[in-house]
């Protein structure tokens, strides 16, 4: 496959570190890319893949470390420079102008453009690339009217026309159908054959084995390993991606369960992009039970949580809560009926950041008659209520008048969880409840979740953290592309098997894969 091979690497990244607001996103990462190579960058969301590539393209500057391109040290000042010297990236959100034609988009901003652009000549040039790599796109079509798969091809074509040596594609197949994805991978392979280096960011195992020559696995900002495709297998990669299995340190006393508190029947939910995110899902949750939902981010977990709590419309199917059909109830009704939600996006959904801490704490109780004073709100009583919760849940802050967005992640999550626990609901939905929290806050959150279970509440725990899933859950479900690839009792499957299910294997396939070796 690699007919053209240079001795010196096309890209060499050495000891790269990068922090945002004190959080290390990349720590001491090395990365090399050879000409003609397709190098997959594998890792969960938040593993630091995109950040690493953004440093390669000059969007961010590394705090530490060096980047070499064709043996020359790079020192970008502005994001546009990377493309000028031949490093191009196709982002998850495309950078095309919807109102212009494909041709206009391809010419737009090209460095060779003079004041008057020789369009026929450009067209001829573009056609040669299209023929060489077998692109089928109508140059006169308006980009905004093209399906998403074609738009992506235009993006790639744009990079080719700019004659890049390095092409980075960031999770290109998430928006594509199976056929489109296969077609895309063929095109990428033929591009690599001409001596260009391709970096393919993904978290899908099947694609890695279809396309990559080499694979680098990142986890929590660290490089775990770089391996040749032929020297590895899905099982090894899955293990590298998710990390070590740790001992569960949580006591889960036996409690009497109340079956069928929540019944979900043939549920279909769309994502923001209008694509099916939850695809025909049916399951039940008992009171006194935690069901942990594992999976790579973006497989429909958040949409499921949103749909259960009324923050997203259900396309088809039913949600029964204590045998009451709540499928079409607006959020306010579900709040009153006892559905609680601790959303993954704390800052934008969990609180209204510009409003004060106390106004955020009363968010779900201010309507109660208890807080009325004639026609007005009893602000004094509401503040007292907020202060009570701050004390009870040990939220540290200088003043309850502080805007909520100034709280640290841990205190913010304590605020949200305190607010929700105090309401005494029957169903609690947690989404990434400990993401980004320090050890102390994490422990607080996990204990709170267990406490709810022990009180007989039904709990759904969506998490990317395996310590959490294994430590807290009574049942585990693995979600992949809107469906459960497995739902089983905690302890029935090993971490590696779950890792395989997260990449699309069914329960049986995962077990088979593990016993084959």
């Amino acid at each position: 496959m690699t007919e053209i091979k240079n001795n010196s690497a096309l890209i060499l990244m050495k000891n790269i570190s990068k922090s945002f607001f004190g959080n290390k996103v990349n720590t001491d990462v090395d990365f090399t890319l050879d000409a003609g190579e397709i190098h997959a960058l594998l890792g969960e969301n938040g593993a630091g893949k995109t950040t690493l590539m953004n440093m390669l393209t000059g969007v961010y500057f590394p705090d530490e470390g060096e980047i070499y391109f064709k043996g020359k040290k790079l020192n970008f000042k502005f994001p546009g420079e990377a493309l000028k010297i031949g490093i191009g990236m196709v982002h998850q959100r495309f950078s095309l102008v919807g109102n212009l034609t494909v041709l206009e988009n391809l010419i737009l901003g090209h460095p060779d453009n003079k004041f008057v652009i020789n369009i026929p000549e450009k067209k001829k040039l573009i056609k040669t690339y299209m023929d060489q790599f077998n692109f089928q796109v109508d140059l006169n079509a308006i980009v905004g009217e093209l399906p998403i798969g074609l738009r992506q091809k235009v993006e790639i074509l744009k990079m080719l026309v700019r004659e890049v040596d390095v092409l980075i594609v960031d999770e290109p197949t998430t928006v594509l159908t199976k056929q489109e994805a296969d077609n895309l991978m063929e095109i990428l392979k033929s591009i690599a054959k001409t001596g260009k280096g391709i970096i393919f960011i993904t978290h899908k195992m099947s694609e890695v084995f279809n396309i990559a020559d080499k694979i680098t696995v990142l986890r929590k900002g660290l490089k775990i390993a770089t391996v040749d495709k032929d020297e590895t297998n899905p099982r090894k990669l899955a293990k590298m991606m998710v990390g070590k299995e740790s001992e569960a340190t949580f006591e889960r006393p036996k409690v009497d369960t109340k079956p069928g508190v929540v019944k979900i029947q043939k549920l279909f939910v769309n994502s923001d992009k209008g694509v099916l995110a939850v695809n025909d899902l049916s399951f039940e949750i008992a009171g006194g039970e935690i069901i942990g939902i594992a999976g790579v981010s973006g497989n429909g977990q958040v949409e499921l949580a949103d749909a259960l709590t009324g923050n997203r419309d259900v396309i088809r199917g039913k949600i029964l809560f204590k045998d009451d059909d709540i499928t079409n109830d607006p959020p306010v009704k579900r709040i009153d009926k006892g559905v609680s939600y601790v959303p993954g996006d704390r800052i934008h959904v969990g609180v209204a950041g510009n409003q004060s801490v106390w106004e955020n704490i009363i968010m779900k109780v201010y309507r109660l008659p208890l807080f009325k004073k004639g026609l007005l709100l009893n602000n004094k009583k509401l503040r007292e209520y907020a202060e009570k919760i701050i004390e009870k849940y040990n939220i540290f802050l200088p003043s309850i008048n502080l805007p909520a967005l100034l709280l640290s992640g841990g205190n913010l999550q304590k605020l949200i969880i305190g607010r929700e626990m105090e309401r005494d609901c029957d169903l609690y939905v947690f989404v990434y409840p400990t993401r980004g929290l320090d050890v102390g806050a994490t422990e607080f959150v996990r204990n709170a979740i267990l406490q709810l279970r022990n009180q007989g509440k039904a709990v759904i725990l969506i998490s990317g953290d395996f310590d959490e899933i294994f430590g807290l859950s009574d049942k585990i479900a693995v979600m992949y592309e809107g469906q459960f690839t497995g739902i089983f009792n905690n302890g029935d499957h090993s971490l590696e098997e779950i890792g395989l299910m997260m990449s699309g294997c069914t329960e049986e396939e995962a077990v088979k894969e593990m016993t084959d070796v």
Binding site: V332, H348, A352, L377, N379, L406
Partner: protein, 352 residues
């Protein structure tokens, strides 16, 4: 070569915010001064003239306050919408539509006793403004149409509807486009200080009521949460669409009251110039005051000083009438520009 680099600020303190706003006004004054100097007038003399004409005599003060009344109404109208992150650029049109509806009652309706007549006119004015605001509200909620454009364009429609009647059925006896003078029953009382009328009291009462509404009621809480974060408001169980619709109606009603206050308090008839752009100046008032009703009163007076002053400059110093508009525009421009400094640290760095 030097390049400008922007770094996101985490938060700006109240004090910093005030300094930035005042600096922006200062810069707008300096630029206005240059504009005045280019017209051959000493800007310091002009500034003095503005201040003395607006505040230097009982007459000046009363006339300044007369101009502040509609600005309080329109300022409140725009601010209450801004409070929920909605832009009502249509206060001017809502003002005219409210005034037109009230005038229709005066022309076609029975003459009632004064208190009753005025109550009906105030209600109709508010209703007219609310109706006119309901159109962009529905367009936004049902079809996601941008309210900036729809409210702005509907201004021209409302003004033309008023013109249709003024040049048609309601034309005065001498064929000029204004209605006959209103009967005494349809006029606000003077309060004994120049042309100042009871519209001022109505405006101040509304300032207090709105303050209570925004900060001490469930409705106000919903409005503020909706303005702070749509997602969080939805999560908290608030019906966002309903809240937005209600805010639009209130905003329109307030602007409609500005219209009634002008025709019943000052002009005693409907004509084409009952508003000298009060609906637009209200945007500046609201933006300066940052949605706090009490501060709106202060900035409404500040801008009415400029309006009154600009009139005097025109008469006494033969400056073009545009001076007032230019000054307003420069203030808005500077204030909008100063937003950058509230959200970012601006640095100059050496680039290649």
């Amino acid at each position: 070569m030097y390049k400008i680099k922007l770094e996101q600020k985490e938060r700006v303190s109240k004090r910093e915010e005030l300094i930035i706003t005042l600096s922006a006004i200062g810069i707008a004054f300096v630029l206005s001064g240059i504009f005045i100097a280019l017209n051959g007038v000493n800007p310091f003399v002009a500034l003095w003239k503005v201040i003395t004409s607006a505040l230097g005599s009982p007459y000046g003060i009363s006339e300044t306050l007369v101009k502040a009344i509609p600005l309080i109404f329109t300022g409140l109208a725009v601010a209450i919408a801004l409070n929920s992150k909605l832009w009502n650029i249509g206060a001017e049109g809502q003002l005219f539509f409210g005034a037109t509806l009230a005038t229709a009652f005066i022309i076609y309706g029975p003459v009632l006793s004064k208190p009753l007549e005025l109550t009906v006119l105030v209600i109709l004015g508010a209703l007219g403004g609310a109706l006119w605001a309901a159109i962009p509200a529905l367009l936004k909620i049902k079809f996601k149409m941008n309210e900036v454009i729809s409210t702005l364009l509907l201004n021209y429609v409302a003004i033309n509807i008023a013109d249709y009647f003024l040049f048609g059925h309601w034309k005065g006896k001498d064929n000029f486009p204004y209605t006959p003078e209103f009967p005494v029953e349809a006029r606000f009382d003077r309060i004994g200080f120049g042309r100042l009328h009871t519209g001022l009291i109505l405006a101040l009462v509304l300032v207090v009521l709105l303050y209570i509404l925004i900060y001490h009621t469930k409705t106000g809480y919903k409005m503020r949460l909706t303005g702070s974060s749509l997602k969080a408001a939805k999560y908290a169980g608030i019906n966002i669409k309903k809240t937005m619709f209600m805010v639009f109606l209130m905003s329109g009603a307030l602007a409609g009251l500005a219209g009634v206050s002008q025709i019943c308090g000052i002009e005693y008839k409907l004509h084409q110039h009952i508003s000298t752009g009060y609906g637009y100046t209200g945007i500046i008032v609201a933006w300066l005051a940052r949605t706090n009703p009490f501060i709106i009163v202060i900035f409404a007076i500040f801008l009415s000083i400029l309006l009154k002053g600009a009139d005097s400059l025109q008469i006494a110093m033969r400056l073009p009438a545009a001076v007032g508009v230019v000054m307003q525009a420069l203030i808005l421009f500077a204030i909008l520009g100063s937003e950058l400094f509230k959200n970012y640290n601006v640095k100059l760095i050496r680039g290649k």
